[in-house]
C-alpha cells in the first residue's frame, strides 16, 4: 500500500495541488537561502567583532550598499511569488469552476461533529431542505415531500467521489464555523453558517483518505473526522446505486415547489 502521510507534505492526488506545492517549495527554498545568508553573516560578525584586548569599536561605519540591493531583491521576489505563483493558483481554485454538466455536485453540511454529505441522486438536482426538518434521522433536513428529494442520497462522514471527475462541493454549516480540509487534495475551506461556499477539486488517484476539520468547533473538534474515498468510476456508480433509497417515499407532507441546486 502506498504511503500517504509522512514527515513532508502529504501525498497530492489532486489536479490543482501541484501548483500549491510548487509555491510552498519555492518559498521555502527562498526562505532557507535568505536565512542561511543572514545566519552566516551574524556568526561571522559576532566572531570578528567580539570584544577583546586591542580591539575597538568604530563610531563611523561605511554605508553598506548590499542591504539595499537585498531588500530590492526580496521585494521583487515577493512580486514574482504573488504574480507568478500565488495569484494564479488561488484564482484557479476559487474562480475557475468546472462546467456543472461535467462535474459531480454535492452538498456538504457540517455540524458538531460530523460531515453530512448530500448527493443529488440520479436526477442531478438536490431536493429541498429546511433547517426545521433537521434531526438525527434526517441530518441535512431533506424535505421528503419534494419529488426531487426522492432519489437523493445522504451519508454521514462518508464522502465518496469518482476519480478523474471534477467535484463541486457546496459547503454549509448547521451550527458553528468548521473548516473543510482534505490534506491530500490540498483543499481547505472554512464552512461558515448562514452561507453556502463552493469549492471544487478533482482527484487523480483512487484510495481511502480523510477529511479533517481545521477550525476549532467545540469539544469534539479533534474527532470531526470524515472519510474521503476516491472510487473508480464504476465503483462509485455501484456505491451510489447501493445507497439510493429503495422504497417509494411516503406521501407528500407539504406543498412544495421544485427547486434546483442554487448556484
Amino acid at each position: 500500500m502506498e504511503k500517504y502521510y509522512g514527515f513532508g507534505l502529504p501525498v497530492d492526488i489532486s489536479t490543482h495541488g501541484a501548483e500549491i506545492d510548487r509555491l510552498i517549495y519555492v518559498i521555502h527554498i527562498f526562505m532557507a537561502v535568505l536565512f542561511m545568508g543572514w545566519l552566516a553573516f551574524l556568526v561571522l560578525t559576532l566572531v570578528k567583532f567580539r570584544a577583546r584586548p586591542g580591539h575597538e569599536a568604530r563610531h563611523h561605519v561605511e554605508h553598506f550598499k548590499a542591504p539595499t540591493y537585498l531588500e530590492v531583491f526580496v521585494a521583487l521576489f515577493e512580486v514574482v511569488l504573488l504574480v507568478g505563483f500565488a495569484f494564479p493558483a488561488f484564482h484557479k481554485t476559487r474562480d475557475v469552476f468546472p462546467n456543472r454538466a461535467d462535474a459531480l455536485e454535492v452538498r456538504i453540511v457540517a455540524e458538531q461533529f460530523a460531515w453530512n454529505v448530500h448527493y443529488p441522486g440520479a436526477d442531478g438536482i438536490f431536493g429541498k431542505t429546511d433547517p426545521k426538518l433537521m434531526g438525527a434521522a434526517n441530518p441535512v433536513g431533506l424535505d421528503l415531500g419534494d419529488p426531487l428529494a426522492k432519489d437523493d442520497v445522504t451519508t454521514i462522514n462518508q464522502f465518496h467521489v469518482p476519480v478523474n471527475q471534477p467535484v463541486i462541493a457546496r459547503l454549509s454549516s448547521k451550527d458553528v464555523i468548521h473548516s473543510f480540509g482534505i490534506p491530500v487534495m490540498r483543499v481547505k475551506q472554512d464552512v461558515v453558517p448562514g452561507q453556502t461556499i463552493s469549492s471544487w477539486f478533482e482527484a487523480k488517484k483512487t484510495g481511502n483518505f480523510e477529511i479533517a476539520c481545521a477550525q476549532l468547533c467545540g469539544l469534539g473538534h479533534y474527532r470531526m473526522r470524515g472519510f474521503f474515498i476516491v472510487d473508480s468510476e464504476a465503483d462509485f456508480k455501484t456505491w451510489l446505486d447501493q445507497m439510493a433509497p429503495k422504497p417509494p417515499a411516503p406521501p407528500a407532507t407539504a406543498a412544495t415547489t421544485p427547486q434546483g441546486a442554487a448556484a
Partner: protein, 574 residues
C-alpha cells in the same frame, strides 16, 4: 529638586500599592506580567502532556483537578480547550503586553525622555488597577461552572456565542484589559509628545521610545473595534441578540430560538482589525529593547537609525490594512484576497529593513557578550525565522494547505516566544540595575540563556514539520487522524523540551528574587550607556533626576574618535 524626602512621608500603601510613581507602577506591571507569563506557561505544560501522551493519566498532578477537568487524571477535551483559549489570552493580553508596554514602557520611557513622571500619574495608576481587575476576572473564570472560555483566544462566533458562562467572563475581562490599554496609550502619547527634556528632539529619541510611541498609537486606535466586538458578543450572550448568529442555526439537533440575521464573519473582521496591529504591539517594544541593548553592547551607534524609525512608523500604519490575511479561507473574493496578499508582502519589507539594520549594527562593534546581549542577539535569528515563515501564510494559495495547522503555531510563536520573550528577558537583565540598584548574576543569567535557547527551538522547530504534514492546530488528540500519526513522535519531543524549558526558568526566578537582596550593588551607569535613564541615580528617586536634564546629542554616541571615554551621555555638552 530632590523630592525623596517627600515620598518617604507617604504610607506604605500609597508608596507601593496605590502608587502614582511611574517607576512603581512599571514594576507592578512587570511583576504581574511575569507572574501571568508563568501561569500561562503552566497551562501550556499541562496541554503538552495530553498532546504527547493522549488519553494517558497525568502523573502526580492528575488528582489535583476536579472531575470537570480531568477524570482519573485523564484530561477532558473541554478542559483542553479551556487551557488552549486561556493560554493564548493570558500570554498575549495579560503577560507580554503588560510586561512590554506597561512594565518597560512605564519604567523606561519617562526616564529616557528626561521626564519626572508620566503626564497623568493618576490615570497611570488606574490603568494598572483596571488591568489587574481584568486579570482577576480572567483567572476567576477557571472556577465558574463549566470552566473558563474554551473557544480559542480568537473566540470565533457562533461557537463563542453558544459557549458556557466562562466566555462571558472572558468578554468582561477583555473589556477591562482594553480599557486599561486605552488609558495607558493616551498617557504614553501625551508623555512622549509633551514631556521630552529640553533639546530632546524626535530624532534624538532612543529607538525604544519610538517603538513605544508607535505601539501606543496601535493600542489607541486598534483596540476600540475589539471593544465594539466584545460589546456585540455580550449583547448576543446576555440580551439574546443575533449579531453573529445567522438565521436557521441547528445546534445539537435543535433549532436555535433566536431572531437570526447576523453574520459570523463580522466578529472575525472586528477581532482581526485589532489582533493584527496587536501582533505589532507585541513585537515593536521588543525591537526597541533589542536596539537599546545592541547599541550599548556593541559600543557603537545603531546602523541606519533614521531608516529604522521610518520603518517602524510605516509598519504601524500598514498593520491596520493586513487584517484579512487571517481570513483568506472564509470565502473572500479573489480580488480582496489579492489586495490583502499585497499589503502583507509590503509590510514584510520594513520588518526586513529593521532586522537588517540591527544585524549591521553589530558590524564594526566591540561586542560584549553579557546576558542581556546574549538574549538580544538570539532575538535576531529567532525573529528572522518567525518573520520569514509568515510569508507562506501570507500567500493565499500556500495558506490553503497551511491555514490553521501547526505551521501557524510555529510561525507566531517564533515571533512572540524566542522573539519577543527573549527580548523581554534581555530587557529585564539590562534594566534590573536601574530599577533596583543591583545587578543580576551573570552566571545564572548565562545558564538561563544557554538552556533556554536550544530548548525553545526544540519546541517550535518541529511544529513547522507537523504543519507541512497538514496537522491541524487545537486538536485535543491528534492521533485520531491518520495524517497526524507519522509526526506524533515530534509531539513527544516538543513536550519534553517544553517541560525542560520550564525547569530552565528556575535559574531566572532564583536570580530575579535573589539579586533583589544579594545582587552586586552598582552605580547609576553600570553598562556605560548614553541614554538619559543612565544619568539618573539607581534606583531613581521620586521625580527621577537630580538636576533637570538637558539633551545635547544623538542617542548613541559610542566610541566617538578622539574622546577619552567610549561613550558620551546625551546630557553632555558638545
Amino acid at each position: 529638586m530632590s523630592h525623596g524626602e517627600h515620598s518617604r512621608e507617604l504610607p506604605f500603601w500609597r508608596k507601593y500599592i496605590f502608587s502614582l510613581d511611574h517607576k512603581v507602577i512599571g514594576a507592578q506591571y512587570a511583576v504581574t506580567g511575569l507572574l501571568f507569563l508563568l501561569f500561562g506557561f503552566c497551562l501550556m505544560m499541562l496541554m503538552r502532556w495530553q498532546l504527547a501522551y493522549p488519553g494517558q493519566p497525568l502523573p502526580w498532578l492528575g488528582g489535583l483537578f476536579n472531575e470537570q477537568s480531568m477524570v482519573g487524571g485523564i484530561m477532558l477535551p473541554e478542559f483542553y480547550n479551556q487551557l488552549g483559549a486561556m493560554h493564548g489570552t493570558i500570554m498575549v493580553f495579560l503577560g507580554v503586553v503588560p510586561l512590554a508596554v506597561g512594565g518597560f514602557g512605564n519604567f523606561v520611557v519617562p526616564l529616557q525622555i528626561g521626564a519626572p513622571d508620566m503626564a497623568f500619574p493618576k490615570l497611570n495608576m488606574m490603568s494598572y488597577w483596571v488591568y489587574f481587575i481584568g486579570g482577576v476576572v480572567m483567572f476567576a473564570s477557571f472556577f465558574v461552572p463549566a470552566g473558563a472560555a474554551q473557544s480559542g483566544w480568537t473566540s470565533y462566533a457562533p461557537l463563542s456565542d453558544i459557549a458556557s458562562f466562562g466566555q462571558t467572563m472572558w468578554l468582561f475581562g477583555m473589556v477591562f484589559l482594553i480599557t486599561s490599554s486605552l488609558l495607558g496609550s493616551v498617557n504614553f502619547i501625551v508623555t512622549i509628545v509633551q514631556l521630552r527634556a529640553q533639546g530632546l528632539t524626535f530624532f534624538r529619541l532612543p529607538f525604544f521610545v519610538w517603538a513605544q510611541f508607535v505601539t501606543a498609537f496601535l493600542l489607541l486606535l486598534a483596540f476600540p473595534p475589539l471593544e465594539a466586538a466584545a460589546v456585540l458578543q455580550l449583547m448576543d450572550r446576555l440580551a439574546g441578540t443575533s449579531f453573529f448568529l445567522p438565521t436557521g442555526l441547528v445546534v445539537s439537533g435543535k433549532l436555535l430560538e433566536v431572531s437570526g440575521g447576523g453574520n459570523p464573519l463580522l466578529w472575525q473582521h472586528l477581532f482581526w482589525f485589532l489582533a493584527h496591529p496587536e501582533v505589532y504591539v507585541l513585537i515593536l517594544p521588543a525591537m526597541g529593547i533589542v536596539a537599546e541593548i545592541i547599541a550599548c553592547n556593541t559600543r557603537k551607534p545603531l546602523y541606519g537609525y533614521k531608516s529604522m524609525v521610518y520603518s517602524v512608523i510605516f509598519i504601524g500604519f500598514m498593520s491596520f490594512v493586513v487584517w484579512a490575511h487571517h481570513m483568506f479561507l472564509t470565502g473572500m473574493g479573489t480580488k480582496m484576497s489579492a489586495f490583502f496578499q499585497v499589503t502583507t508582502m509590503i509590510i514584510s519589507i520594513p520588518s526586513i529593513i529593521i532586522l537588517t539594520a540591527l544585524l549591521l549594527s553589530l558590524w564594526g562593534g566591540s561586542i560584549r557578550f553579557n546576558t542581556p546581549m546574549l538574549f538580544a542577539t538570539a532575538f535576531l535569528p529567532m525573529f528572522g525565522i518567525g518573520g520569514l515563515t509568515g510569508l507562506p501564510l501570507g500567500l493565499a494559495a500556500a495558506d490553503i494547505h497551511l491555514h490553521d495547522t501547526y505551521y501557524v503555531i510555529g510561525h507566531f510563536h517564533y515571533v512572540v516566544a524566542p522573539g519577543t520573550l527573549f527580548a523581554l528577558f534581555a530587557g529585564v537583565y539590562h534594566w534590573f540595575p536601574k530599577v533596583t540598584g543591583r545587578k543580576m548574576s551573570e552566571v545564572l543569567g548565562k545558564i538561563h540563556f544557554w538552556l533556554s535557547f536550544p530548548l525553545i527551538n526544540g519546541i517550535f522547530m518541529p511544529m513547522f514539520i507537523m504543519g507541512l504534514a497538514g496537522v491541524s492546530r487545537r486538536l485535543y488528540d491528534p492521533t485520531q487522524y491518520a495524517h497526524a500519526q507519522p509526526t506524533q513522535p515530534l509531539n513527544v519531543v516538543i513536550s519534553i523540551c517544553a517541560w525542560l524549558l520550564g525547569l530552565a526558568q528556575i535559574p531566572f526566578i532564583i536570580n530575579f528574587f535573589g539579586s533583589l537582596f544579594f545582587g552586586k550593588k552598582v552605580g547609576q551607569n553600570p553598562w556605560q550607556a548614553t541614554t538619559l535613564e543612565w544619568s539618573a541615580p539607581s534606583p531613581p528617586p521620586h521625580g527621577n533626576f537630580e538636576t533637570v536634564p538637558v539633551v545635547y546629542r544623538a542617542p548613541y554616541e559610542y566610541s566617538v574618535p578622539g574622546e577619552k571615554e567610549d561613550f558620551i551621555p546625551q546630557t553632555e555638552r558638545k
